[in-house]
């Protein structure tokens, strides 16, 4: 009833390959896109700047990582380092007077080159061993940033982003920064959805499922693994630059520490591997739920509903958060994206019970 399938025919290849063949999906995407575009008009600065903006940017980061982890099956535990390379290169490039549009591309390229350098390890190792190799990348990049003042910005190790404009719009107001982030995450999402339909995407999936089986059917693992690292690191680098210019506006090494890498992995896993919806939901969950829980628990305590010591009070949100992660993953091991998918499938045939996949 909600998802009317009448009139959806698979008679032409273009129709069969459409991103959203069912009209109801298209409507949903359209409504969400309109809501996102209009956000600066109905959201206060607090919610736009502290919730929507970081959520969008981290969603782009999660999408970049899920391209590598979800689609190509290459674990990466140093993705914050990739974003750090993007952030630092973008600031240094912008300071050299290069236009910001090119700076973004440059930041992506630097990240992509360094990221694929470490990704070369993936040609030899798999699984947990690859985790170790990417962890090494995290620590090496951290070390280099901290120990090379020319990169980190001297004794205070804080680099402020210079004033720039994107397509003649100065990136000063919150609204301008929000729209750039929105544009980037929309581009990332559309790119990701399209990669899934290309031969490149299918090759990545083949490698994820079994790399030597992929080699047998003619997919060159060497080439495609490197390409996966390159693409994903490029997206991560640009996301890092967007994060620096649109959100933090002052970059320090701690903003890209190991914890952030783990958070990104958590976003991808909790959201659901290899899914766009999962990238958004996972980023929202990992980024925003702790903030909401902290405020919720503090609100409870302030109104006298919760009389516990201040130490327990500050750890209570963490306990609830942990329980939520375990709860969601027990409830649906494939992540939040699968929960969305279940709901969608339920309505696909509603009011009847049986969904076909």
């Amino acid at each position: 009833m909600f998802y009317r399938l009448a009139g959806v025919h698979h008679t032409r290849y273009e129709q069969a390959r459409a991103l959203w063949p069912v009209p109801a999906d298209r409507w949903q995407v359209l409504v969400i896109a309109l809501l996102a575009l209009a956000a600066p008009f109905y959201l206060s600065d607090l919610y736009l700047g502290s919730y929507m903006l970081p959520w969008l940017i981290w969603s782009a980061g999660a999408l970049a990582l899920t391209l590598l982890m979800g689609m190509a099956g290459q674990l990466h535990f140093g993705f914050a380092a990739v974003m750090a390379i993007g952030a630092y290169s973008s600031i240094h490039l912008a300071r050299l007077g290069i236009p910001f549009e090119l700076t973004l591309v440059g930041a992506g390229l630097v990240s992509a080159v360094i990221g694929s350098l470490f990704g070369a390890a993936a040609l030899r190792v798999k699984g947990l061993y690859l985790v170790m190799a990417t962890l090494a990348m995290q620590y090496l990049v951290d070390w280099v940033i901290i120990n090379v003042p020319a990169i980190s910005g001297g004794a205070q190790a804080t680099l402020r982003t210079p004033a720039v404009s994107f397509l003649f719009v100065p990136l000063e107001s919150l609204t301008a920064r929000y729209y750039l982030a929105l544009a980037w995450v929309a581009l990332s999402a559309v790119f990701f959805l399209n990669v899934k339909r290309t031969s490149f995407g299918r090759a990545l999936v083949a490698i994820r499922d079994k790399d030597f089986a992929a080699a047998v059917i003619g997919v060159d693992p060497f080439r495609y693994k490197l390409m996966a690292f390159f693409t994903s690191s490029f997206m991560g680098g640009v996301t890092g630059a967007i994060l620096a210019f649109c959100y933090y506006r002052a970059v320090t090494p701690e903003q890209f520490s190991f914890n952030v890498s783990i958070q990104l992995v958590a976003m991808v896993l909790v959201g659901g591997l290899g899914s766009v919806v999962g990238g958004f939901l996972g980023a929202g969950f990992v980024l925003l739920i702790p903030i909401m829980l902290t405020n919720f628990v503090a609100g409870l305590a302030a109104s006298g509903w919760l009389a516990v010591s201040s130490n327990l009070l500050s750890h209570l949100p963490l306990m609830i958060y942990g329980a939520l992660i375990i709860g969601f993953l027990l409830f649906e091991p494939l992540g939040l994206a699968k929960i969305y998918d279940n709901i969608r499938k339920y309505f696909l045939v509603w009011p009847f019970r049986h969904a076909r996949s």
Binding site: Y247, A250, E254, F296, S310, S314
Partner: protein
């Protein structure tokens, strides 16, 4: 349908949480945002520190406030994550907070520009960037106590007064982070001036494992060692120093060495170790006595009574004492209701304020937001910290040089 209802319930719960988060208080109070890290990296200090801050504000309120104005602390956990700090800052600002204390390097670094733009006060007592002492470049940021640079000079001055510096070998053993590196330029300048040999040794963060670094330190044969770390790394540093044959008396620490660390090292083993202190420790002070009487004994304390009088608790008390004094000055000269701008003016009117002897007298001016950079050295005697020098600042010319240098590059946008 059953599982769908479960989903619906879960998402409704989430939405409810978001909505219930905003708790508003009545107006007419002066609000301070104490948005600190209670769960990640700074846990070693923030619990006691924040307790001291809140207890002092409670004391002021119990005594009738300032000109009838009461104080309210907005306390939130930021988990040392910049994005959570930014959210907490924006929310507290909407609730009307005019002073912020983040006690976290990444969070305060990320918010320096916002604070300057929004014209609210950020205090960075005994931590934070040293060049923020330049009040003309950082009009709304107040280190208001000795910065790391001044702490290093006070320690050096102590060494000069007790045995001299010339020809000596001084080692700095620091955590490999911007915070750990901060004193290096000041100490290098001093080494040139005072003709001692200076060498810095870094250990990797978080500092649980330092043995490799310390065997190098031993080869350097230092006369004195300055340890520059915080939290879990500090007891390890002290233990390693002693294990490598450096007498505890020759070990001097940055401000972050407290009773808990002595307990972890062993109260007797650590006997003799010295540290910089910006605020007196113990309950032997009129303010602490009043807190004990009117807040703790009245059952209004913000935490465990056993913490009252510890090093970090007292630093917390002193920070709020200075902030409340600034509010008093601002109310006197500018009048209620207070804004960030008025509070800034109040800070810059503080003159010879020593919180009834709890801390060295600070005088904050529009140019100098550090307030003089005074402190003293105290020594662990097996049971408590005992002062071994008088309050005072040292070599502020060298510190000023660093401040001017840092502030100039901030102005250039670096």
């Amino acid at each position: 349908m059953k599982w769908f209802r479960k989903h619906l319930f879960a998402s409704a719960l989430m939405a409810g949480m978001a909505a219930a988060g905003a708790a508003h208080a009545e107006d007419g109070t002066i609000k301070f945002g104490l948005l600190q890290d209670f769960t990640a990296v700074y846990t070693f200090v923030s619990g006691e520190y924040n307790q001291g801050q809140r207890d002092y504000l409670t004391l002021v309120n119990q005594e009738g406030g300032i000109d009838g104005q009461k104080f309210e602390a907005i306390v939130r956990d930021t988990g040392n994550q910049p994005q959570r700090g930014i959210e907490a800052y924006n929310r507290a600002r909407e609730e009307g907070a005019i002073l912020f204390d983040f006690l976290s390097t990444p969070v305060s670094r990320a918010l320096v520009d916002s604070v300057l733009k929004d014209k609210v006060v950020m205090i960075t007592p005994v931590h934070g960037r040293g060049d923020a002492s330049d009040g003309e470049t950082f009009p709304y940021i107040f280190p208001m106590m000795a910065t790391y640079w001044s702490q290093a000079t006070v320690l050096a001055k102590y060494l000069e007064d007790h045995g001299g510096l010339e020809g000596k070998k001084i080692a700095l053993v620091h955590i490999d982070s911007p915070f750990g590196r901060e004193p290096i330029p000041v100490l290098e300048d001093l080494a040139k001036d005072k003709k001692f040999e200076f060498k810095a040794f870094a250990y990797p963060s978080p500092g649980n494992e330092q043995s490799a670094t310390w065997s190098e330190v031993r080869r350097f044969r230092p006369d004195n060692v300055l340890i520059w770390g915080a939290g879990g790394g500090q007891p390890v540093s002290v233990r390693e120093a002693i294990r490598n044959g450096i007498p505890p008396e020759n070990v001097l620490s940055v401000v972050w060495l407290a009773e808990t660390d002595a307990k972890n090292v062993g109260a007797d083993t650590m006997k003799g170790v010295k540290r910089f202190e910006a605020v007196a420790t113990g309950k032997d002070n009129p303010i602490l006595k009043r807190i004990q009487e009117k807040v703790i004994d009245a059952g209004l304390g913000a935490g465990e009574a056993a913490n009252v009088g510890t090093s970090y608790y007292n630093i917390g008390v002193a920070t709020m004492a200075v902030a409340v004094e600034a509010a008093r000055q601002a109310l006197q000269s500018e009048g209620a209701p207070l804004t960030g701008e008025k509070l800034k003016a109040g800070f810059e009117k503080i003159k010879d304020f020593n919180a009834e002897g709890l801390m060295p007298a600070v005088t904050i001016t529009a140019k100098d937001h550090q307030g003089g950079g005074a402190g003293r050295v105290s020594q662990w005697n097996g049971e408590a910290w005992e002062p071994v020098s008088d309050w005072g600042a040292a070599y502020q010319d060298i510190v000023q040089k660093e401040i001017a240098h840092g502030a100039a590059s901030f102005k250039e946008g670096k």
